[in-house]
């Protein structure tokens, strides 16, 4: 009575993720989010109909990692570009991948109007409260008191104002259909993140409107911490200002989710 079962691979690189080394710093959660997006693309079988749009910022080279057709946008303009693509090719699944500087500072206009038009586009929004690529300046989402290279004594809200809460803002717009905030600091949160990204893509494919998944993320390098410290800091500081949860799930989305 042999119990030797065939050994199976239960976790490996998804097909839609290129087999290359990323340029990301050790411990940066961009890599996790990229992988989760690729897993969703595999699960939904949409690699051949998906077009991604990379931002300017640390994830400017996302097109080297996620194995679909890809464009690289001007800083902040990913959602305008996505609008142009999607309006000509409604059969495509179009997603933008944007950081906090790209989406919530220079690209706010494009964000608000793509959302309010109800464009059938999905945005994956990486919020790590800092400008990574340029070396750690204040982002629109930098927390009050947070030290960055352009807020050397901490973000003074009298001088630099307050951080933007993107999900709360965008969920007020009628055209937005599915607006949620997730994180990726432990396996459980990563599982929830994957479910959210999958739903967001399904919302787009069903033509229900604009979908956005915010990921509360980290930046060990520019926060000046080890990767493990950064995940602790994220949980202790960012989640209070950026609570995880569903900010907008339209009834049509709820019906869709019930069916799936």
């Amino acid at each position: 009575m042999s119990e030797a079962k065939e050994e199976k691979i239960v976790f490996q690189r998804p097909k839609a993720l290129c087999d290359v080394v990323t340029h990301y710093c050790p411990g940066c959660l961009h890599g996790v989010v990229h992988r989760v997006i690729a897993e969703v693309i595999d699960d939904l079988g949409i690699q051949e109909i998906t077009v991604g749009i990379a931002p300017v910022g640390c994830s400017v080279l996302a097109y080297n990692y996620i194995a679909t057709d890809f464009a690289e946008a001007a800083h902040g303009r990913a959602l305008a570009m996505a609008t142009g693509m999607k309006r000509v090719h409604p059969e495509l699944v179009v997603f933008t991948y944007q950081g906090d500087g790209d989406l919530a500072a220079i690209g706010t206009n494009e964000l608000i109007h793509a959302a309010t038009r109800g464009e059938n586009i999905t945005t994956i929004f990486i919020n790590n409260a800092i400008y990574g690529m340029t070396g750690g300046q204040m982002a629109p989402t930098t927390l009050p008191g947070q030290v960055t290279t352009s807020t050397p004594t901490g973000r003074d809200t009298k001088l630099a104002g307050f951080p933007i809460r993107v999900c709360e803002l965008v969920s007020t717009l009628e055209g937005s259909a599915y607006i949620v905030r997730r994180s990726a600091y432990n396996p459980s949160e990563i599982r929830k993140l994957k479910a959210a990204i999958k739903t967001a893509f399904q919302v787009q494919m069903a033509g229900l409107g604009y979908s956005l998944v915010e990921v509360v993320s980290n930046c060990p390098t520019n926060w000046g911490m080890t990767p493990l410290e950064s995940l602790k800091w994220l949980q202790e500081n960012m989640l209070a200002y950026y609570p995880l949860g569903d900010y907008k799930v339209k009834d049509s989305v709820k019906e869709l989710m019930a069916k799936k």
Binding site: E7, K8, I9, P26, V32, N186, P187, P227
Partner: protein, 69 residues
């Protein structure tokens, strides 16, 4: 028997995989360096405690862990 394989050349030594193992410390930081100068993680499971849950692999930003069960 569940097990993981770490691609040490892909590992950047961030250590995120080392803190999530439900069985304790089956994934640890290595004392050696890879060719990029990172100290990769290593799989230490003499008592065959790994259950193949893939928590470690899920945390890996570099997809350097493959899980077998």
């Amino acid at each position: 028997m569940p097990r993981i394989v770490i691609d040490v050349e892909r590992c950047k030594g961030c250590g995120l995989c080392t803190q999530v193992c439900p069985k304790g410390d089956l994934v640890q930081m290595s004392d050696e360096f890879n060719s990029k100068g990172y100290r990769p993680s290593k799989f230490v499971d003499p008592e065959k405690k790994c259950i193949g849950c893939a928590f470690c692999a899920n945390m890996c930003p570099d997809v350097a862990i493959t899980v077998y069960r």
